[in-house]
Point group: C2
Chain length 270, copies 2
Amino acid sequence: MDIRNEIPANDVERFYFAALEFSDAARGIIRAALAAGFEVRRKPDGSFVTSADLEVETRLRELIARRFPTHGVIGEEYPAANPHAALQWIMDPIDGTEDFVKGLPTFGSILALHYRGEPLVGVIDHPVLDLRVSAGYGRGAYRGKERVSLADLDPAAIDGSERVMLPARANFIKHRDDGALFDILTRAHPNHRIYRSCFAHACAVTGSADAAVDYGNPVWDFAASRILIEEAGGKFVSVRAWDVPSLGRVYASVFGKPRLVDSLLSHFNR
Amino acid sequence: MDIRNEIPANDVERFYFAALEFSDAARGIIRAALAAGFEVRRKPDGSFVTSADLEVETRLRELIARRFPTHGVIGEEYPAANPHAALQWIMDPIDGTEDFVKGLPTFGSILALHYRGEPLVGVIDHPVLDLRVSAGYGRGAYRGKERVSLADLDPAAIDGSERVMLPARANFIKHRDDGALFDILTRAHPNHRIYRSCFAHACAVTGSADAAVDYGNPVWDFAASRILIEEAGGKFVSVRAWDVPSLGRVYASVFGKPRLVDSLLSHFNR
């Protein structure tokens, strides 16, 4: 039995609509920051953080603490709250901050609620693209208000024309040298796109892409992706996990149309 | 002397504003097609073409023939008109048709005017992203109505964090096997993004990316890019050209911030 069935459907519904409200709040802050300007600095690892990242995470933590004071919160920019709670909100306030800073519209906000490690609710929101995908356990996946449902690929369509979202080579070499896997994936699936943000995940959910690979990222970068893909009728596989000093646990996952996910997974075992 | 100085500045201005009008017409047709739906079929080479591609090119050819009856027109979907004229309009009505079909917003319309092979005017328009870059010879480059000006990269900033827009591996192997060059470029510049449309070129013009590579494409795919980049203060180099049976001449070019362009070019000589 799926442990998530311990949560009444009414509660899932309540959490799902709360997540949409929190996501609205994030979008409002981000759009205001784009209009009014924001501060940018580099973190010790060289990655960007802006005043908008911090403002979104602070605001969402406040909203969650007020509505669900017993729930935990894990976010990219601040320490965990209620780390032993069974229900954990996980967020990346702006995923793709470098793109946000450089004027690309593909960045997004990620918000998920997990129950004992299993995802109940997931939202990826793209404020500039006006694109949101959302899902709740047993409730289906949505693009805006429209239900999305993925049809599997015909095996004959996995001929090099399949559309695969890949991480950049940077993701495969930043923690350890897994560059050979990038080379294998780009050779096997030459019709790839590389966005360096959760826009790739949203595209796998809507079917704009046939599948996506995430590589070397902490939990907040893909916390919404499994529930989104599974509720859309696709397949999600967490394929690798390892620890990185000063960052913690990072993961690799593959998700999208099931036959293509299986094909992609075969490259990880070489 | 630059041969383009043979064209009076008043004429460049007239051509530039005409190009913006033609681009408005293309945008209107594309947005209407997205709202009302459109037909999709595959060309003999397997690539997509839609009723919107054909409608945009047909309409722009009509507008150009009416306004500039002696000018030539080269487009992706129909045979050349007035092929011996000194002034040639070159267009790709929808660049990134596969993305257009699959619901990605990064496709765009490309329109350029060349004089004896040298670009006078260039426009790349993204109807869904509401993003347009445009330039006229001696008139500067613009994002919407805002002038854009590229600052060169500090040599120390070419350390792997530089943002490079690359073609997918598919582009390097579709006509002949230049896959090794893709591997070299992705290794040397791991912070790459791959969009498979002229959105990559627009990002190089605005500075959202530091440079872009175009590979294995006919003239209409990058006809606007040289004038856009040069008028923005960047550097454009056409680095390779070769003939492909049934398709004609295809090209490789590198453009963007000058020092990074030089760095990228060094990989083509290995």
